[in-house]
């Protein structure tokens, strides 16, 4: 995997050229009633790629992820994962079978873990292989033990979810998803429900997975993780993919105003050290230390309080409104 620096220098993801395409999404749209949540997104993911989806709450990140394995039923569009092609919206033909195939090829990790509380850690992991892949019980248990050991839970194999910490639960959930030998792993804010001191152990497992070449799509605002592990960061807003590129591009040289504004909110909160290093402070807070290295905008202009004001986006202090909420761009108030 190329380093973020290398990607930054070329501006495109060179190393994926010629690799097998694992995920192909075309013009995916999703309505909840009359609420248009996904407004036509396209995505191509190659084998071994790690995609990180960022964006404000309500931008459709989770919905997009859940559409990929049909936990939400996309309204229109096409999805192809691991060679299984589904045209969304029609429910005839092989739709059910194809959805089942896709679900077997996708592992999913949820924000709230969703472990089966009446099964211990091992049983949680063996449930899929035994029931869906018809594996022998002994073989499935062996595999589960290997996976649980890999995620660092060798001494917790017969514990019930209620006996595990959040980080341990999430690691069991990752092992459970991996037990199905997926070609693609989906992570829906895997660390958002965790206490800060437990986030690291989960991220470490995810880093290991990425290092082993697992194809992953991650919804997460863990900037350090994204910076180190992601091949591509996609900024999503209002149902569109607004901006995508290597993390160095999207995080440090965002082109779109909405991305810039979002990062100004998210970076100081999530990664105070990193933000300070970049000279980013939360809106409404004091200006950065003038000695600190200024964040370079897309046009080579240092991103700071002054020139961000030029983007004509209303400034709202972080303390206002629900956390993570953004002031809406003009013309989008009705959403």
């Amino acid at each position: 995997m190329s380093t973020p620096e290398a990607q930054a220098s070329t501006g495109i993801v060179q190393h994926t050229v010629g690799r097998e395409v694992v995920v192909e999404v075309k013009d995916l749209q999703k309505y909840f009633g009359r609420n248009h949540v996904l407004k036509g997104v396209d995505l191509q993911v190659h084998r071994g790629e790690v995609i990180v989806l960022i964006g404000p709450s309500g931008s459709g990140k989770s919905t997009f992820l859940r559409c990929l394995n049909f936990l939400e039923d996309p309204t229109t569009g096409e999805i192809e994962i691991g060679g299984v092609h589904v045209v969304c919206g029609s429910h005839g033909g092989h739709f059910k079978k194809d959805v089942h195939q896709i679900r077997m090829k996708c592992g999913m990790v949820f924000q709230e873990f969703n472990l089966f509380p009446h099964r211990d850690a091992t049983e949680n992991v063996t449930e899929g292989p035994i029931l869906v892949k018809r594996e022998k019980k002994e073989a499935a248990i062996q595999k589960a033990h290997a996976l649980l050991t890999k995620v660092g839970l060798a001494d917790r194999m017969d514990f019930f979810p209620s006996q595990l910490s959040g980080g341990q639960k999430q690691r069991v959930a990752i092992a459970r998803a991996m037990a199905m030998d997926p070609v693609l792993m989906l992570f829906d804010e895997p660390t958002s429900a965790l206490d800060p001191e437990l986030i690291g152990e989960v991220l470490k497992v995810m880093r290991d997975l990425a290092a082993q070449g697992m194809t992953m799509i991650v919804v997460s605002h863990e900037m350090a993780f994204s910076r180190d592990v992601a091949d591509r960061v996609v900024y999503m807003d209002d149902g569109y993919f607004v901006e995508e590129g290597p993390p160095s591009e999207v995080f440090f040289h965002p082109k779109d105003d909405r991305t810039k504004r979002f990062l100004r909110h998210i970076l100081p909160e999530k990664e105070p050290e990193h933000a300070k290093e970049l000279g980013i402070v939360a809106v409404g807070q004091e200006l950065p230390d003038p000695d600190a290295a200024p964040l370079q905008g897309a046009a080579g202009v240092a991103l700071n309080e002054d020139n961000l004001a030029d983007t004509a986006i209303p400034r709202i202090p972080l303390s206002d409104g629900p956390s993570g909420e953004l002031p809406l761009p003009p013309g989008n108030e009705e959403l």
């Binding site: 919206g89 029609s90 429910h91 969703n114 509380p117």
Partner: protein, 425 residues
């Protein structure tokens, strides 16, 4: 007399249903033959068809320490085919010719204040009844009944009885009566438990499918049309909605009508349906089967709503996690949702189980000899309803306490992973 009014009211009710009853009588008696005064000395089952079989009498041929009012004799009998006329139509009075049927006490024909009658103390269970004014007191009696059928066949049945006299002067709670009838009533408790356990198991099965049916509705037709705009999808949705409609109809019907009525409809209605379908009478449900059917269908309707709430109480994320690892809808329900839902609904099922123990008493009206039926039969025989019914009440209470205890045990067992958690700490 209070007792007469009781008998008469039941009798008049039964008369309204006599047409059905007479057809049912053999079935009813087949299972309900162990009446309190049944005796091995009764005319055996070898009696030729058309000759009534005496099943039991009041006063009791066993004699013993039993009180007798001395002003009436009742004979519970199996018409044994005598109540069906040559043209296959049912005959009145259980097929007896009352003008020729006679009762002898100590060799003398008993003079009556009103003609003998045949009543159905319990429906489908004919009882020949002799009532007069002057009461016989304490003493030994030779009793004999000569039953003559309308077809002219004669059956004689004679027994001896030693009477302690009327119970009128006895104590309110007659310990001797309680002792005498204890085991007879206890046997009814076994029937009560059988009824309850079989019914709750069947009810749970009905409720499971009912709940899945009730929950099969994912969205309204309007929502589906808004979302898919596909005629083909709508047509499939109509078929997919059928389980929901069936389940909704089922719960609405069985929760919306009285249980007692359901018991009557199933017991008396089923034979009519079977006859209308041209099937032989052997398909008629026995009182026990009809009782179990009514109780399980009724409680199934209530448990449907309990199960539905239990399934809905399982977080949606559990479904999603199961789907995400590729489990089918049914696998998800069976392996993930239902075990968790079951744990949630155990207290509610336990509640209904205890309510069901008591509601089984309602099937006494279709001659199932469970606790209440046996207690009231014993009460009629001993002329001491208060004592025998108290015995039944004690049994009901003991049963509910016993099952509440096991319910608590089961709840603890289902929470075993939590218990393990405590152990580890």
């Amino acid at each position: 007399m209070n007792r007469r009014a009781w008998v008469a009211s039941l009798g008049s009710f039964a008369a309204g249903l006599a047409l059905t009853l007479t057809v049912l009588a053999p079935v009813a008696l087949a299972s309900g033959s162990a009446s309190p005064s049944a005796s091995p000395s009764a005319v055996g089952a070898t009696a030729p068809k058309g000759t009534p079989i005496v099943l039991g009498t009041i006063p009791d041929p066993k004699g013993g320490n039993v009180n007798w009012t001395g002003d009436q004799v009742r004979i519970n009998f199996d018409p044994n085919g005598a109540d069906v006329g040559a043209n296959g139509k049912p005959l009145a009075n259980g097929g007896l010719d009352l003008a020729k049927t006679k009762l002898f006490i100590n060799g003398t024909e008993q003079k009556l204040t009103s003609p003998p009658s045949v009543v159905y103390v319990a429906v489908g269970n004919p009882t020949l009844q002799y009532i007069w004014n002057t009461a016989y007191g304490k003493g030994a009696y030779d009793l004999k009944v000569v039953m003559v059928t309308q077809a002219g066949k004669t059956t004689e049945y004679a027994w001896k009885f030693g009477s302690q006299g009327s119970a009128g002067g006895g104590s309110l709670i007659n310990v001797q009566v309680m002792k005498d009838w204890f085991w007879y009533i206890a046997a009814g408790a076994i029937i009560t438990v059988e009824l309850t356990v079989i019914s709750i198991v069947l009810a749970s099965i009905f409720a499971l499918f009912g709940a899945l049916g009730r929950l099969s509705k994912k969205m309204t037709f309007t929502q589906a049309w808004d979302r898919y705009r596909s005629r083909e999808y709508m047509v499939r949705m109509v078929f997919g909605r059928i389980p929901y409609w069936i389940a909704t109809f089922y719960t609405s019907l069985f929760r919306g009508t009285p249980l007692l009525l359901q018991i009557y409809v199933i017991y008396f209605g089923a034979p009519e349906v079977i006859r209308a379908l041209g099937l032989p009478d052997t398909y008629n449900p026995s009182p026990f089967v009809a009782g179990v059917a009514a109780l399980s269908l009724n409680y199934g309707a209530y448990l449907t709503e309990v199960f539905r709430a239990g399934i809905q109480a399982v977080p949606k994320g559990q479904n999603e996690a199961a789907w995400a690892i590729g489990l089918s809808g049914w696998q998800t329900q069976r392996r993930i949702v239902l075990p968790q839902a079951f744990k949630i609904v155990i207290p509610a099922i336990g509640n209904d189980f205890i309510a069901l123990i008591k509601d089984t008493s309602l099937v006494s009206v279709i001659t199932v000899e469970e606790l209440l039926k046996r207690a009231s039969l014993a009460g009629a025989s001993s002329m001491n309803f208060f004592s025998t019914l108290l015995v039944a009440a004690a049994f009901y209470w003991a049963l509910t306490i016993f099952f509440s205890f096991w319910q608590a045990k089961l709840e603890n067992r289902m929470a075993r992973d939590k218990a393990r958690e405590r152990e580890r700490r």
